[in-house]
């Protein structure tokens, strides 16, 4: 078992004919990921790495029964692509590009909620269920199948955490990159709930960082989970970021510092790890 993506996921690459699309399509296929089709408006009928290209997501689904999409397109085109996929019935969309306009991601999220679709990103390294499917740009090398899930805003932290889990023989069920953009398609709490429902996931490592309020938002959910959550928050010693004017301060209040995030998550029952090497120690203590 895993969450969101596995060996049966039928994956569509939006923007498959671009250079990043082509490059990562090959990588994903090499990993064994089931890439069933791609889209590139006006280039329907071509092939990329043996994968058929379609003009529209509708056509791709009709021909391939794709149910999952990963987007490799310049940021200005992401909103249209994601909403096209959502409307067409794709249930999981991974937005790799960074610099998605905030209003666009808000709109994508709104449509996703209407249609019951999960969106990751923008600016995510993607998601991997080791041994089954690798969607995005994450390196295979850090991962191996196992029993701990990870969720992080940062690609590089995901690699370090997975590497730690892999070398300590825990391995991973699924590793989820939420993305580094200021407004994200999914939040920690949503992914944590999915892990909680996955019988194979025995614990989750959640990596957050300074800024924003997505980590804090996870606290009430963590209180209710059966699955233990180990938490690392980067930026305890980072210089204070700039607030978005008075309005930002009024809306986000005292949230957003690494210390506030750690405090709130600890209070909710998460197990804090300062360094990667502490993670397997904590898991061992929890009999995971």
């Amino acid at each position: 078992m895993a969450i969101l993506v596995d060996k049966d996921s039928r994956i569509l690459v939006q923007g498959i004919t671009g250079s990043a699309g082509q490059f990562h399509t090959k990588r994903m296929i090499d990993y064994g990921t089931q890439i069933v089709g791609g889209t590139s408006p006006g280039k329907g009928g071509q092939e990329v790495e043996g994968v058929p290209v379609f003009d529209t997501v509708d056509e791709c689904i009709d021909a391939t029964e794709a149910d999952t999409s990963v987007i490799f397109l310049p940021a200005p085109f992401v909103k249209e692509a994601a909403i096209e996929a959502i409307w067409a019935g794709i249930k999981f969309v991974v937005v790799i590009p960074e610099h998605i306009p905030i209003f666009d991601m808000m709109e994508i999220r709104q449509e996703a909620k209407k249609y019951g679709t999960t969106v990751l990103g923008g600016n995510t390294a993607g998601i991997i269920t080791p041994g089954e499917a690798n969607l995005g740009i994450m390196p295979d090398i850090a991962f191996k199948p196992g029993r701990v899930g990870t969720v992080s805003r940062s690609g590089s932290l995901t690699y370090y955490v997975a590497d730690t889990l892999t070398r300590s023989d825990y391995g991973e069920t699924t590793c989820v990159g939420l993305g580094g953009d200021p407004v994200l398609g999914s939040t920690f709490d949503e992914i944590l709930k999915m892990f909680d429902d996955d019988p194979k996931t025995r614990a989750v490592v959640m990596c957050g960082e300074i800024g924003g309020v997505y980590e804090e938002r996870a606290a009430p959910v963590i209180k209710k989970l059966k699955t233990p959550v180990v938490v690392m928050i980067g930026g305890v010693f980072a210089p204070a970021g700039k607030r978005m004017g008075h309005a930002g301060a009024i809306v986000e209040g005292s949230m957003g510092t690494a210390r506030s995030k750690l405090r709130i998550l600890e209070e909710a029952g998460a197990y804090p790890a300062k360094t990667f090497s502490e993670i397997p120690q904590i898991l061992k203590g929890l009999n995971v």
């Binding site: 808000m106 709104q110 390196p139 850090a142 690699y159 370090y160 200021p182 407004v183 010693f237 690494a258």
Partner: protein, 396 residues
């Protein structure tokens, strides 16, 4: 992208918000002339990309053209909040009866636009939010929602307006919301919204921050003379150099040069150094698969920084390969040398090959690699952090 007050006011004026009609001055002469034109008195406000101008001495009242000249001379010579003052907005003096606050921003946690209003506007609005939250009124909107006139009217009522002032507040509230939406803003604020003793309302200050990532669809800003910019005022020379090279870089106060991979690990690596008693000299983001040229530039930024006593290097070979990383670093070291000790760890894709390349190079030219320590996956990153702290202490 933060806009200057006078730019934000242009956008507000386009949405029919009554803004004070100030005059932009680039010299003390301009400022004196402006005050003359405004009838002999005015407020001089430095145009810098930072809040808190007033408290920092960047807003001054002038009661004559001569006084304006003198004040402007001082302001142009000074640095306000680390910013050079290049322009001053000379605004008419208002007879203030009351100050209100209006702002719009994004509530990221709830994926909503939030309109914020308070009858207690002015510089201390954040204090008001903390101590008297009941004086802060918030209204949330979905991203595709417009604001109806009756909603604006309701907000005006919450601000305590009645009669003609209530009617006058409606287009201001709508205009602020519409400006926020029209220009892909992250923030739009009127603080203070001033009620004058004659019962009129004026947007006396204006703050807008546009989403940089959405600038591609706002050519109209360029046509209004509002170009994409960076906030130079607060940057060190090294930060400016890094930006020119396209490297996300921030100077910090410590002595360990951070030469890490992605931004996420950069933030965490900074914490690690602290946990072991050290202090990083910088924050830096390599981006994915940096070229040899980029690696060289990253190292130059650290090597030429006199504060840096030792360098902490970490590479996770993900899509990129550790051997390519090793080749780039080795090439730099051979061509430029490195005046600081450095400890480097490689893991991930091709890490063994990376370590081997370094070892080979060390055998060939041991003098170049005298102060370079290379580690692979077997040494945890925490050990590397600890070692970097030791190296810096030794170098003192």
């Amino acid at each position: 992208m933060r806009l200057f007050e006078f730019e934000a006011k242009k956008l507000f004026a386009q949405k029919k918000i009554p803004v004070t009609q100030g005059i932009l001055a680039s010299s003390p002469e301009d400022a004196a002339a402006a005050v003359r034109e405004l009838g002999g008195e005015g407020v001089l406000k430095v145009q810098i990309l930072s809040g808190g101008r007033g408290k920092a001495g960047g807003i001054k009242k002038a009661e004559s053209p001569d006084e304006a000249y003198k004040i402007a001379e001082e302001l142009f010579a000074a640095k306000i909040k680390d910013y050079e003052v290049k322009q001053i907005l000379v605004d008419p003096l208002l007879d203030i009866a009351k100050e209100y606050y209006l702002g719009v921003t994004i509530d990221r946690a709830n994926y909503k636009i939030v309109f914020i209003a308070s009858p207690s506007g002015g510089v201390d609005i954040e204090e008001v939010a903390r101590t008297s939250p009941e004086k802060i009124y918030k209204e949330k909107f979905d991203i595709d929602e417009k604001m109806y006139g009756f909603e604006a009217f309701g907000i005006g009522k919450k601000l305590g307006f009645t009669g003609d002032k209530l009617k006058a507040s409606v287009p201001i509230i709508l205009g602020l919301y519409n400006a926020f939406k029209a220009y892909d803003c992250k923030l739009a604020e009127i603080n203070p919204l001033i009620e004058t003793t004659d019962g009129k309302l004026w947007a006396a200050d204006a703050r807008i921050s546009v989403d940089d990532d959405a600038l591609f669809r706002h050519k109209e800003l360029g046509e209004m003379g509002i170009e994409k910019r960076h906030e130079e005022g607060e940057m060190t020379e090294r930060e400016k150099q890094a930006r020119e090279w396209g490297i996300p870089y921030l100077d910090l106060e410590g002595d360990i040069g951070m030469f890490p991979g992605g931004a996420g690990f950069g933030i965490m690596g900074n914490d690690f150094i602290h946990y072991f008693g050290g202090k990083p000299a910088n924050f830096m983001d390599s981006g994915g698969g940096p070229s040899p040229e980029r690696l060289a530039r990253m190292l130059i930024l650290l090597d030429e920084n006199p504060n840096v006593k030792a360098i902490f290097g970490a590479r996770f070979g993900g899509i990129s390969r550790c051997d390519d990383f090793a080749k780039g670093v080795i090439q730099f070291l051979r061509e430029h040398g490195l005046s600081k000790p450095m400890v480097v760890r490689m893991t991930g894709n091709m890490w063994q090959e990376g370590v081997r390349l370094f070892e080979e190079a060390k055998e060939e030219t041991p003098e170049v690699f005298e102060k370079i320590e290379i580690h692979g996956i077997e040494t945890p990153i925490e050990e590397i952090s600890k070692r970097a702290v030791e190296l810096a202490k030794e170098a003192e």
